[in-house]
């Protein structure tokens, strides 16, 4: 028997022993495999092709199933769970529309490299290809937005395939894996002996672990000679659990550090060495530092177009070091000088060791000069806004949220202006606290993602910052929140517009606000109440803090806080498409002090 002894940290390992060698149906194998993987939560929605699996779920109580209200909610919730915990998210949906509804969430997870296993029902194998009821080519549809996918045609392949799916999803550069399971494969009347392999080796899949020592040495040599260095770190540091190692290295070097949207929290945002997020809505100091740096140390970041701006203007003076677990990330958009393929945490540890071994340590004077320059840029105070406004400024709402929650939130976000304001103004000091759709930019992500986070951490404060356009894209999940008593707080920055669309139309389309005004909004207070929740509305800056305190004081209630904000506010700084880091638009209040 392949399975012996239980791994102590694996929930369900005892059951694994119980399951090994028993005669199980395909449906029972699915559930037993989830137990053996230590899966606590499955987000799903039943339907014809997965009824056998749902029946097997019904007969046990170790794997907890969370019934969402739309399959997109299931994939986002599994994704949110994975982002907050670092474990693999799992969702279960039926064939056809169940699978297609889940696709947006799968693509979202793919773009941000989130480990997730998606089990989809499929029509029975004899009718595959016959345009059967609720048939869709799930493997074909999901192929470009998964790390890998499988169609299981024989129950004897089921356990091994699920093991492979978890292995692939969680190792190397993580990502979603779809396992498509035809209904006849889960037939309760066909039983086979169950074996779940603990170890798995695939000749075609061997992710790189350790970085090349020679390359690491080259990188450290460059760092030791740097006079204007910058760390540029991304979501890979969070995914690779390299936060502690990064923090140590950054502190040991004394270099400034900037982060992408996905990397926020990997290094404490309130630390003086952190110079803000970079990129399209990054800080003046971070983007200027990128423009002037002589040694760029990119860790777990992928040189996304929202970060680099125009490639021709990107870091024109820099030698570039790039650490990434995925070889195909290296020199994809920007040619780098010292590529290091490997697990971020291990490479950072080795970098620190080599850096500290250098005797004597490098002259601190050039770095001090560099910091003086950065301090000048910082003095511009590029995130400032009008604090005297009679309307609630969205920035003020985020700052108040930070104040009221002591920076301790798990904060999920939808996509648009509110997302950028939160990224700029809610400092995250820990990884896995800021949960948003960076790569795909999926409106509707925030609320279901928050469900995944809250279910993972029932005692934690979880909030979703959203806009009135985004929130409506998955609003049905308020019913799920009610069913499972999830005390999430929705902080809605309601400006009546698709704010980011409106901003681009104002700046680049001569204020022709084509279809960006969200007419006929619901009464969010009543809407929340109709789902059985608490709804609140705030319109004046003076009332905001008290309202937020009141909302967060309701520890066991879902509260929907509709904050009416200034519809004309824009996110600054902003690098327009096709511009370089040094060509930022600044807030109009700053333009008379435009960049030197």
């Amino acid at each position: 028997m392949a399975l012996t002894g239980a791994e102590p940290n694996r929930a369900g390992a005892a059951e694994a022993d119980a399951g090994a060698g028993r005669q199980l149906s395909g449906a029972e194998i699915v559930v037993q495999a989830l137990l053996d993987e230590g899966v606590e939560l499955v987000f799903g929605y039943p339907g014809g092709s997965v009824l056998h699996i749902y029946d097997a779920l019904f007969k046990q109580d170790t794997v907890r199933h969370i019934l969402v209200r739309h399959e997109q909610g299931a994939s986002h919730a599994a994704d949110g769970y994975a982002r907050a915990t670092g474990k693999c998210g799992v969702c279960l949906v039926t064939s056809g529309p169940g699978a297609t509804n889940a696709v947006t969430g799968i693509a979202t997870a793919y773009m941000d490299s989130i480990p997730m296993v998606v089990l989809t029902g499929q029509v029975p194998t004899p009718v595959i290809g016959s345009d059967a009821f609720q048939e869709v080519d799930t493997v074909g549809i999901t192929r470009p937005c998964v790390k890998h996918n499988f169609l299981v045609k024989d129950v004897r392949d089921l356990a091994l395939t699920i093991r492979k799916a978890f292995h692939i999803a969680t190792t190397g550069r993580p990502g979603p894996v779809v396992v498509d399971i035809p209904k006849d494969v889960t037939d309760p009347n066909i039983k086979i002996p169950y074996h779940y392999p603990r170890e798995i080796r695939m000749r075609s899949y061997n992710p790189v672990e350790k970085g090349h020592p020679g390359q690491i040495k080259k990188a450290v040599d460059l760092m030791l000679q740097a006079t204007r260095p910058v760390f540029y770190t991304g979501g890979g540091v969070v995914l690779g659990e390299g936060s502690a190692q990064l923090t140590e290295l950054v502190r040991a070097t004394g270099f400034p550090i900037t982060s992408t949207l996905m990397g926020l929290g990997a290094f404490p945002t309130t630390d003086g060495q952190f110079i803000g997020m970079l990129g399209m809505h990054g800080t003046y100091e971070a983007n200027m530092a990128m423009h002037e740096t002589d040694v760029l140390i990119a860790i777990g970041a992928r040189f996304d177009d929202r970060v680099t701006g125009k490639i021709e203007h990107f870091c024109p003076h820099a030698k570039i070091i790039h650490v990434d677990v995925d070889p195909s990330s290296i020199s994809k958009n920007v040619r780098v000088d010292v590529p290091i393929v490997g697990q971020v945490a291990g490479v950072l540890t080795e970098m620190l060791r080599l850096y500290q071994a250098q005797k004597p340590q490098p002259d601190p004077a050039p770095i001090a000069d560099w910091w003086a320059k950065i301090a000048d840029w910082r003095r511009l105070d590029c995130l400032q806004y009008d604090r005297t406004s009679a309307a609630i400024k969205p920035q003020f709402a985020i700052e108040t949220l930070y104040k009221v929650t002591d920076g301790e939130l798990y904060l999920t976000s939808d996509v648009g202006q509110h997302q950028m304001f939160a990224a700029q103004l809610y400092p995250f000091d820990k990884p896995r606290r800021w949960i948003n759709s960076g790569g795909l930019g999926t409106m509707g992500f925030g609320l279901p993602a928050a469900m995944g986070v809250q279910l993972a951490f029932p005692e934690a404060q979880v909030a979703c910052v959203s806009g009135e356009a985004s929130i409506l894209m998955c609003i049905q999940e308020m019913a799920t929140c009610k069913q499972y008593s999830l005390p999430i707080k929705v902080v809605l920055l309601n400006n009546g517009y698709m704010g980011m669309v409106r901003q681009w139309q104002e700046l680049f389309y001569e204020s022709r606000y084509s279809h960006s005004y969200v007419d006929a909004l619901p009464d969010f207070v009543k809407l929340a109440e109709s789902f059985g929740h608490v709804g609140m509305r705030v319109e004046r800056p003076a009332d905001l803090e008290d309202a937020m305190r009141e909302a967060f004081a309701m520890k066991d209630r879902f509260v929907f806080l509709d904050v009416v904000v200034d519809p004309t506010e824009n996110v600054y700084p902003m690098i327009a498409a096709g511009k370089g880091h040094h060509e930022m638009h600044l807030s109009p209040s700053l333009t008379d002090r435009e960049l030197a």
Partner: protein, 164 residues
Amino acid sequence: MRHIIAVLLENEAGALSRVAGLFSARGYNIESLTVAPTDDPTLSRMTLVTTGSEEIVEQIKKQLNKLIDTVKLLDLSDGPHIEREMMMVKVRAERPDREELKRLTEIFRAKIIDVTETSYVVELTGASKKLDAFIDAIPEGLLIEVVRSGPTGITRGEKGLTLS
């Protein structure tokens, strides 16, 4: 620049569509692609010909390697190698042209593998350029149909693209 890349893939359903999908999704050029199982029935060998700058070809190889079904990959263009492509050509072969076509076939060391009163099918194997030259040499108006396999390739010398 033109590159000929050989890939050993798991012989799984869908492996080919992953490769084809990768090229279309990322906008890479693909000139030809051939694939068949190897002596080891669990493996398929694919040969693809692509063009692009060095940066793009580098990305193509990385992205191919990243596919879970890819076991091993070799850019044959990196070293000495042999390329062969197979072609079948159907030509109009009526009495006045039959001798000329037969002579051409001999010059190119091709074979006539089907004969009717009015047509030949000619089989020819060689480097792609030789195949092009044969087509160019066929007298105007006689060409009916051309079928090409796309090139396959192998490295010269003892070392090969194998699992060991």
